[in-house]
Symmetry: C2
Subunit: 365 residues, 2 copies
């Protein structure tokens, strides 16, 4: 089984033993695996991430002393069942799943060693009871986006959106783009999206952003204010300290860049009563002015992951066609190309979601 | 009319012309005025506060080029009505009010000049339609706490408290103590309170804190964990990223110190899914680790002031006896003593709420 192994920050394609399904587990063939920003974090800041996770939730995410097989966004095909399974889905059928084993082995998928490979591999193991069967006719590429779209659905749900809200998306990487697709589906409009990359802003527009702003050239908040002013009849009322009433509706801003300083930028730009959903993962120490947040009665929600129910809801929305974010897929690569793609994504992010097709081979010529 | 005038950071007692009630306004005699932490901020950092408020809500709070009469917490007695009033409350009756004029003059009370004096004065003006009449038998001191208790009620309401919550109060100054009284009234228990001052911790216990922690000697979060573990049957379930379930219930922490670093301390100490209500006003730039907040799905609400309805609700709770926070009043001073009290409160905060009795005179002997 060919797989991308990560060790000492290097990514190499190697042959590893075929993983053996344990009780309640199933062996699957990976059709597509997404490359996630977390994977880039894992490689560049694995030790810091481990440290942060240990402190935050008491869990060691990765054993960095061994090779790790990344990948937690995938669509796959059932190959063989292990012991203690009901075989409810026929061999050959397509499936996806929460990225976790939940039987005898309790393990996240995409941060473990070669015995529990992530989806940067030709084959991997899943827990049978978590399998979601993909109906015929639904493109595999669409299903491979279930996980990032579940992250976005959770972020959107955390915002308690009301019809009067005019959302502002800061950062149009995969999380920002997935959020735009989810907000579009929910009918919240107009959607304002900001990024530094013209290529990503085009994707944002394709996925449903009504107004796109190149933050190198224009203030996202000026654009947002224009949009908020022209938005439909408002039923909002923001309490303003020290008398008076704000003439601006509160915004719901989604921090999707993970860059230090952006949260403070949003606090300064946002009107009284605004909500900030922080979905980007900033590993640095950040700074902000609490007095501005207090004077404006700002609410901040930091979000990660999703519930099991949100994952399944996302899958059903994709299958029904209600949620379509295939526009965020910018290319499909081979296992051999992954290492180079990591370098490109870190330096010049014109890509959004890159898929790996483990069955594809890079031409020698 | 004697009043404390603030100019160039100096507080002096002077005689000013009696204020003249305009249309819809009423002249009142101040019985008690509370000294608020904001007043200390206004004096020490008036220009910075103006700048912050201008940026946050587009309002210039104070005209620092003129003498300012502070004071926005008060109980008073009706002396005379201006034109355009219904005189619905008899002259001689006691009243309190939101600290604002809301008629022809739209002005906050407690940050204006001698034409709209705050309650650091023998007499002041109020808007008739905002007057709340104090029934016989209710102590004036209790009513003078309406404003700070409304701030606390708003903070508590912002926390969306559930019966399973174990609140942690960081800082037992007037805001923290008022919060303890409000949480006690709401029946949320156990209440854990932390401060650096043994005197304030005694007040915290008097007002209803079940567990008090001197943060110089013990970790507030260790004490909180003990309390949370022994708290009654829990129906909470916190989502933990990267698999597993937290064995700690989320906390609701109230930041009431206004000191930089404390928000980050709470983020690091709090379990997954915790909520942080920031009620303290920190004028400095602060730092924090967003990754910890993201990994723990932290929710932060920055709160200021209260709604008109919350102010009236607080008044009714005080009048009915349901909410009693007189224990936070540590002494009553004369106008002449105010300047010295400001120095003491800034340097060694063993006091909590200090009231001014403008009718009292400091003995010359």
């Amino acid at each position: 089984v060919r797989a991308v192994l990560m060790q000492d920050k290097r990514l190499t394609v190697e042959s590893v033993p075929e993983p053996v399904p344990g009780s309640g587990e199933v062996l699957v063939e990976v059709l597509y695996s997404g490359i996630c920003g977390s994977d880039l974090h894992f490689r560049a800041h694995g030790a810091e991430f481990n440290q942060a996770a240990r402190e935050a939730v008491g869990v060691e995410v990765m054993d960095l002393s061994r090779p790790i097989i990344l990948g937690h966004e995938f669509v796959a095909r059932v190959l063989a069942y292990g012991p203690g399974t009901t075989r409810r889905i026929a061999v050959g059928k397509r499936v996806t799943s929460l990225p976790a084993l939940r039987g005898d082995r309790q393990r996240g998928i995409g941060s473990a060693g070669i015995d529990v490979p992530g989806s940067y591999a030709e084959r991997m193991l899943l827990t049978e009871s978590l399998l979601l069967e993909v109906p015929e006719g639904v493109p595999s590429e669409s299903v491979s986006l279930t996980e990032p779209l579940a992250v976005a659905l959770h972020a959107a749900n955390s915002a308690n959106l009301e019809t009067c809200d005019v959302p502002l998306i800061m950062g149009c990487g995969p999380i920002g783009l997935a959020l735009i697709a989810v907000l579009k589906m929910k009918g919240v409009a107009p959607i304002v999206a900001a990024d530094l990359s013209p290529a990503r802003l085009n994707l944002a527009r394709d996925l449903g952003a009504d107004i796109v702003v190149n933050a190198r050239q224009h203030s996202p908040f000026e654009a947002w204010r224009e949009a908020a002013r022209s938005a439909d009849p408002s039923t909002w009322a923001a309490p303003t300290p020290f008398g008076g009433q704000s003439d601006l509706r509160p915004t719901v801003a989604f921090e999707c860049t993970g860059s230090p300083g952006v949260i403070n930028q949003i606090i300064h730009g946002a009107p009284v009563g605004s909500r900030i959903v922080v979905a980007g993962l900033c590993m640095a120490t950040d700074h902000f002015e609490p007095s501005q947040a207090v004077l404006k009665s700002i609410e901040m929600r930091f979000v990660a992951m999703y519930s099991d129910a949100e994952f399944e809801e996302t899958f059903n929305l994709i299958v029904s066609g209600a949620l379509n974010a295939r526009g965020m897929i910018t290319r499909t690569v081979t296992l051999e190309e992954v290492s180079g793609v990591f370098e490109q994504l870190a330096s010049s992010p014109n890509d959004a979601k890159v898929l790996i097709d483990p069955s594809a081979r890079t031409d020698a010529g």
